[in-house]
Symmetry: none
Subunit: 225 residues, 2 copies
DNA sequence: TAAGTTTTTGACAAATTCTTGACATCAGGC
DNA sequence: GCCTGATGTCAAGAATTTGTCAAAAACTTA
């Protein structure tokens, strides 16, 4: 079960967040001030941090910075009383992932939390991933199929990794280009097709009838374990 | 659908921004220079402006100031080359809401755009939706009916999604064409009928007597859960 | 620089989906 | 109840999307 750490001293808001997230299946932990928040975070990093800006003992800004130093991948959503432009820019620079001003709409916060959680990837749980006779080791960037090593190029590897990290979800070519290729060189969407083709040839039992790297006609591709 | 106005003369960046925002459901309009940008803005103010600082005909700084004079509520994100000497505070005083230096990470820009658009919050959507024996999973683009998977084409899927997101409300064929099909390709209203037909055949218990995908004679269709 | 590798592009065929128009049927106004 | 326009339904053709290959371009490495 995914844990959410709420760093917030206002009791009312604490309760509201509990009521919002617990029915959705999240475990909510609450810290009353910045110091306690950092301690709780270090003890066992949660999947998401919801952070109030005005805190006793340690300001939200410091907590944000500190957390991003420790484990940069954990997303942070900042709560603040007033929309202050300078704060917004600073916070995003400090590493906050999103920003919500109080009073917030519960549905909006929930939606933002989902987005933030979806962005974080979970290969931290396992260094490698297997399907059929194929085993992919992410840190080693190695792929073994039926005992023999298979060579993937770096782009193929990144493509496979992103699809696997987002298993089951339909990914458009555009999203793949954004996430795997990045901004500087922006090729055609056909490039994606070709990489999928290569992945199928190298990893699927029957490349002509792919089971794992599936096409969703008119939408994109999705990986099914 | 929310519209984003991009004022930017670099073709590469234009394409990148298009591919970044369009999959997220935004409509992207591009203006090549400052003057054209201001004209486009006045014609129909968008939900967000992404503004390059170095522009032909009218500098980004002037555009920024001008826009804020016209409609101060529309957020502006400024793009600037890394080499530019940039006084953040000055820029923010001119009315910009946020700034990003090139080359930017797509993810970061998207996150900042979301923050900027916060004021016009879209209703948050759940991952899945059920009625009768039918369950629709949106990110997976999967439909299961009585335990068996049902294949929807991408257009059918988008149509169903839009109707469900607007449950109970009567949607005209024109609105469906605008929202689901988009501006560029504009088929006959009969096309909508055909897609509704397919949805009924695939999702209704008795397609001849639809309970959920209802016709509102003379007005359009509406989804009833 | 040159050889080798990887990435990107474009062409074409194949697969799938979308659109259209014809005709049947239905709802609502008179 | 009849008439008119709106909707249901079907299937053929149009259009789009994807698979696949090979060559060009870009990048690496020696």
């Amino acid at each position: 079960m995914e844990r959410i750490l709420v760093i917030e001293d206002d009791l009312k808001v604490q309760r509201a967040l509990r009521r919002l997230f617990e029915p959705e299946g999240y475990t909510v932990e609450v810290a009353e001030d910045g110091l306690a928040g950092m301690q709780a975070f270090k003890l066992l990093p949660p999947a998401l941090v919801i952070l109030d800006l005005n805190l006793p003992k340690m300001t939200g800004r410091d907590v944000c910075q500190e957390i991003k130093k420790t484990a940069s991948s954990v997303p942070i959503i900042v709560l603040s009383a007033a929309s202050d432009v300078l704060d917004k820019v600073l916070l995003l620079e400090l590493g906050a992932d999103d920003y919500v001003t109080k009073p917030f709409s519960p549905r909006e916060l929930l939606a933002r939390a989902r987005v933030a959680l979806r962005r974080t990837v979970k290969p931290s749980a396992a260094d490698s991933f297997s399907f059929d006779e194929v085993t992919i080791n992410f840190p080693k960037m190695e792929v073994v199929r039926s005992g023999a090593e298979i060579q993937l190029t770096s782009q193929e590897f990144r493509t496979a990794k992103f699809l696997i990290e987002n298993s089951e979800r339909v990914i458009s070519r555009e999203e793949l280009l954004n996430e795997v290729w990045g901004y500087q060189n922006y090729p055609t969407t056909r490039t994606v097709d070709n990489h999928i083709l290569k992945l199928r040839q190298k990893l699927e039992k029957d490349p002509a009838n792919p089971v794992h790297f599936r096409t969703v006609h008119g939408a994109g591709y999705k990986f099914v374990p």
